[in-house]
């Protein structure tokens, strides 16, 4: 169990520091705001890990509110283009980050609807051991749901890590090219 707490701490720490560095180093305002949102989410996760549920919830709500604000900001500030000028391009950073945020919300919704939020928080704070043993028929769906929610949560954190890592590499490469 200690391993899970350790891994989640280092993941969150990497996300926090990486997103903070990305926000400070990036030159475009949209990128700064985007990494700030990721930072808020990571702050929320860290607070949840430290059993400070209220602050964690506030930080995550700030992240959600910020995401909506960012959408509005992009809608207002992005220059209007004719439909035939709009190009669809694959952006790995944006794709990974949006995927991670979507998966994180999916986990939260799943945990909320299945009444497993407390269990998820207990696991993150290290006060509950994951029980993957399925003993009776009645507990099959319960255990499977909880385990899937945890797996998706971990996958979301890994995706966030990837997104921040790719973002950091991109920003430092761009800075090198400028220099």
């Amino acid at each position: 169990m200690g391993n899970l707490v350790t891994i989640s701490f280092y993941m969150i720490a990497f996300i926090l520091v990486g997103a903070a560095l990305c926000a400070v180093f990036s030159t475009r305002i949209k990128t700064v705001l985007f990494y700030t949102l990721i930072m808020f989410f990571a702050f929320g996760l860290l607070s949840l890990q430290l059993n400070c549920v209220l602050n964690g919830a506030i930080q995550i709500m700030l992240g959600c509110g910020g995401a909506i604000l960012l959408l509005g900001f992009l809608a207002v500030l992005t220059p209007k283009k004719a439909p035939n000028e709009v190009k669809l391009e694959f952006r790995p950073r944006m794709f990974l980050s949006l995927g991670a945020v979507a998966m994180f919300f999916l986990t939260l919704l799943w945990a909320l609807f299945d009444n497993y939020l407390k269990r998820l928080l207990d696991i993150m704070s290290g006060s509950l051991v994951i029980n993957r043993e399925i003993s009776t028929v009645e507990t099959i769906s319960e255990n499977m749901t909880a385990n899937y929610a945890i797996d998706i949560g971990i996958a979301a954190i890994v995706l966030l890590l990837l997104a921040v890592g790719v973002g950091m590499v991109g920003i430092f490469k761009r800075n090198e090219e400028k220099m």
Binding site: G2, N3, V5, T6, F9, A13, L16, V17, A20, L21, A23, V24, I29, V32, T36, M39, F43, L46, S47, L50, N51, C52, L54, N55, I58, Q59, L62
Partner: protein, 107 residues
Amino acid sequence: MEVLLNIGMYHYLVLALILFCIGFWGLIVCRNIIKSLICAEIMLNACAINFIVFAQYLDASHLHGAVFAVFIAVLGLLELGLAAALVVSIYRYKQSTDLERISDIRG
């Protein structure tokens, strides 16, 4: 290796220190007003982490630090809201968000 694997109070404090340093450095270096605000927010959140960690490890009730953390979060939110309004009005007036160009304040 054992020290790195057993997560305790000092790990969180080091993380908060790193974040505070990043925020402080950015606040000094960045000339853009929006980035300066984000850096101030990073510093505030680093302080909030300290409060939460001390409440978790040193306070028996786990409550006082959490209340301060929520207070800091609300304070940061208010600061961002106020600063956003200021940025918009300064941008309309100066056509720039460069802090170096903002040298006069009129009522």
